[in-house]
């Protein structure tokens, strides 16, 4: 029997969406095949990596994660500029951790001012991420949306419980919405439908399937993302044909396996390299499952993943 390369029968395509505005805007999505199945279809836009910036100095980060940002962690703008100028960030994700009602509980207007300062000063696309507290996120993200109107931010997480108010603000002030659901393909589809009914344009919608790192449930998000891509590409499920954003860095670096030192457990090896690899390997698995945007932290993990993307798509 002669050898014939088997091909998947695709019938759908991932939507192509533009994030940000101006010269530094990026385009993601547009895939016509499973991730990196380039012998079967196209991946017109390479996955992008957004670098994290926090609106308060991080607590309990391992040394390896702090070191690249020494001197800028108390100034979100300087932090963002360092990511762009020193580490070549093509997108920034501002994590509004200080607004957490279980933490500093900083008021919405202060957080919005930080977002405003950042989006005025940088030209790469800006993701603004809340704390997944519905009431607080509604307050914070609505204010961010208004204060940064027409800046084409990417706002998340937008969940079922707060999608109406945040969604409406995003529509009014022309931002992209990241629909966030807890590792479930049906809930993801339902929220996309709800946001569509609300009036969010298909060109301004991305999905966050809720991701976790190696050792903390990677297999769940990995399979949910594979199922999303399967439904989108082979079952013409238009309501799942949106690009996927994965907020993976914070999930990786908070784990004890990323923090434990070599002295505490010699079998775990070098702590810095381990942290970098846990982030980069988790990100690689998510890329292979269908990630279009990865939110990452460590510059060396980012460099490794960028090389992986370029190797996987080499001409």
């Amino acid at each position: 029997m002669a050898f014939e390369i088997p091909k998947t029968a695709y019938s759908g395509k991932i939507r192509q969406i533009k994030l940000g505005k101006g010269d530094k805007a990026v385009t993601v999505g547009g895939e016509t095949a499973y991730p990196f199945y380039l012998f079967e279809g196209e991946m017109p836009n390479l996955p992008k990596i957004a670098m994290e910036v926090y609106d308060m100095p991080p607590e309990e980060w391992p040394e390896a994660a702090l070191e690249p940002f020494a001197g800028v962690t108390d100034d979100p703008l300087a932090w963002a500029q360092k990511c762009i100028n020193d580490y070549g960030a093509e997108m920034i994700c501002l994590q509004l951790l200080s607004t957490d009602p279980n933490g500093l509980n900083r008021p919405a207007d202060e957080a919005a001012q930080v977002a405003k300062k950042l989006c005025d000063a940088i030209d790469v696309p800006l993701i603004v991420w809340g704390t997944a507290n519905h009431d607080k996120d509604t307050e914070v993200l609505r204010m961010v949306a208004e204060l940064c109107q027409n800046k084409s931010l990417i706002l998340g997480p937008v969940e079922e419980a707060d999608h109406k108010k945040i969604g409406a603000a995003a529509i009014g002030y022309k931002h992209t919405v990241v629909a966030s659901t807890p590792i479930d393909i049906n809930l993801a589809k339902q929220l996309n439908i709800l946001l569509g009914n609300l009036g969010v344009s298909d060109d301004l919608l991305a999905m966050d399937p809720t991701v976790s790192s190696i050792g903390y449930g990677l297999e769940y998000c990995y399979s949910v993302m594979e199922r999303m891509r399967m439904a989108a590409l082979t079952q013409q499920d238009a309501k799942l044909q949106f690009p996927i954003i994965c907020n993976i860095a914070k999930e990786t670096w908070k784990t004890k396996e990323a923090k434990i030192t070599e002295a505490e457990d010699p079998k775990m090896g070098d702590a810095k390299k381990r942290g970098i690899l846990l982030e980069a390997m988790s990100a690689t698995a998510l890329l292979l499952a269908g990630a279009d945007v990865l939110i990452m932290r460590h510059p060396e993990a980012i460099k490794l993943v960028r090389e992986m993307i370029s190797d996987l798509t080499a001409k």
């Binding site: 088997p6 380039l38 309990e60 990995y222 090896g269 690899l277 390997m281 690689t284 080499a314």
Partner: protein, 448 residues
């Protein structure tokens, strides 16, 4: 060429005797066609039918064993492209490379790493137990010396690497009883390699220059009666290697293309010089279909994440991992330390115990067997309610370890606090946070 269920049915006795464990011959034929049953289950099938069916009834990706005894490496036997469709069956073997050009100290160090780098997780031991020995010198005596050294110093399963059949034969002679994998039969040496594998009953790897050539090699091995076969498409760029892994699996599963229906072997170190990148490429092969991954070396910082990723990806999606029921001591608790209770879904346990560790507050955690379900799911299913939690804690022996009578329950089962107060007289039931992330804050404010 694979047969359909109906074609298979025609060759069966059609007596519906049920001796195969399936009520009808037709149902058995369908299972055979789907690769879900083995023909040997039918005691009545004729010899003629057997020979016709043996090919069609074999699983589309043959299971392969390397080594002997309890710790034999079992790979292949995969049935799906995506793990959610059923599950991935046999986790890839991860091998450490030892070359016959390395000095004694290096060989010893690598043997030690192969043995000592193992990790406990959810009651499982994650380890490698696979060593690849490379005849880099090209000298049979040197290679044999290395094989002897490794054989004496380790009971791991072995891979012998050389493209020279005579060198490989010399090494094999020293360890034939360990049933190593021979790597590799190529266009130039296939007859000698096939004979070697056959004589010694060993698994053999075929290495082709591309998939077409690889298929001609495996057809020759098959003709020689060899079934314990592992394949290498020869590609050494990341892009081509991924593509080959996908095509191999898809050809075997979706086209029932026999010549590629074997587990694969990959060499990430031959795709990069950077150990960090090598680890990343290896992680790709864990998700995308490798049967054996040979690493240039083992380091804790890369091996640990790879082993855990392998555990994650090869977890059966229908059977979540569970942690053992019992009392867990975190941060060296004493008799005045707080006591928390949670479910035994492994992720719940990892997150809760990780957050307690993060808090640095010495604590007791009682993990209740909830059949691997999370807090919310087990509570909804009636497996994590007051009448179950209360008696379990009172019987757990924790009362000998703590002086206070205060129990912190997950915020999501706050409704059980009344019931628990009845089940556990004199105890104060405290409702903890709903989310793991809020545990450190809660514990820091907790007073006995």
């Amino acid at each position: 060429m694979a047969l359909s269920g109906i074609e298979i049915f025609k060759l069966l006795p059609k007596t519906n005797c049920g001796d195969c464990g399936v009520p009808t011959c037709l149902a058995f034929a369908m299972s055979l066609a789907a690769g879900k049953a083995e023909l040997s289950k039918c005691p009545h099938v004729s010899e003629e039918a057997k020979s016709k069916l043996s090919e069609a009834s074999a699983p589309p990706i043959l299971p392969v064993t390397i080594g002997t005894g309890e710790k034999t490496l079992k790979i292949g036997g995969e049935t799906v492209m995506f793990r959610h469709e059923k599950r991935f069956e046999n986790p890839p073997g991860i091998a450490i490379l030892i070359s016959d050009t390395m000095d004694d100290a290096e060989v010893k160090a690598r043997l030690e790493k192969s043995k000592s780098l193992e990790y406990e997780r959810v009651g499982l031991t994650l380890n490698t137990n696979l060593i690849a020995l490379k005849a880099e010198s090209g000298d049979a005596a040197k290679f044999t010396a290395l094989v002897n050294k490794v054989k004496d110093g380790s009971d791991a399963n072995l891979i012998l690497i050389s493209d020279k059949a005579d060198v490989l034969a010399a090494g094999l002679k020293a360890c034939a009883d360990r049933k190593p994998l021979l790597y590799a039969a190529t266009k130039g040496n296939i007859d000698a390699m096939a004979a070697l594998a056959k004589e010694n009953g060993c698994a053999v790897a075929a290495k082709g220059d591309g998939l077409e050539e690889l298929a001609t090699l495996t057809e020759k091995l098959d003709a020689a009666g060899l079934k314990n076969v592992v394949i290498d498409s020869g590609s050494r760029t990341v892009k081509q290697a991924l593509e080959d892994q996908i095509i191999i699996r898809s050809a075997a599963l979706n086209k029932k293309y026999r010549p590629l229906g074997y587990p694969t072997i990959v060499f990430p170190a031959e795709m990069t010089d950077n150990p960090m990148k090598e680890a990343l490429i290896a992680s790709m092969f864990i998700t995308k279909y490798a049967g054996i991954i040979v690493l240039s070396d083992f380091q804790g910082e890369s091996l640990f994440p790879l082993l855990v990723e392998r555990l994650n990806i090869y977890t059966d999606p229908q059977r979540p991992l569970a942690t053992k029921q019992g009392i867990y001591e975190i941060n060296n608790p004493n008799e005045n330390s707080p006591l928390m209770v949670t479910s035994n879904f492994s992720l719940t346990y990892f997150i809760v115990s990780g957050e307690i560790e993060n808090s640095k507050v010495p604590s007791w955690l009682y993990v209740k067997d909830t059949e691997g379900l999370s807090v919310m799911t087990s509570w909804a299913a009636g497996k994590f309610s007051a009448d179950i939690i209360g008696p379990a804690i009172l019987k757990s022996g924790i009362t000998d370890k703590i002086k206070h009578k205060k129990l912190i329950i997950p915020g999501y089962i706050a409704a059980e606090s009344g019931g628990l107060e009845e089940e556990m007289p004199d105890w104060e039931i405290m409702v903890g946070p709903r989310e793991g992330a809020h545990i450190p804050g809660y514990l820091k404010d907790w007073k006995p």
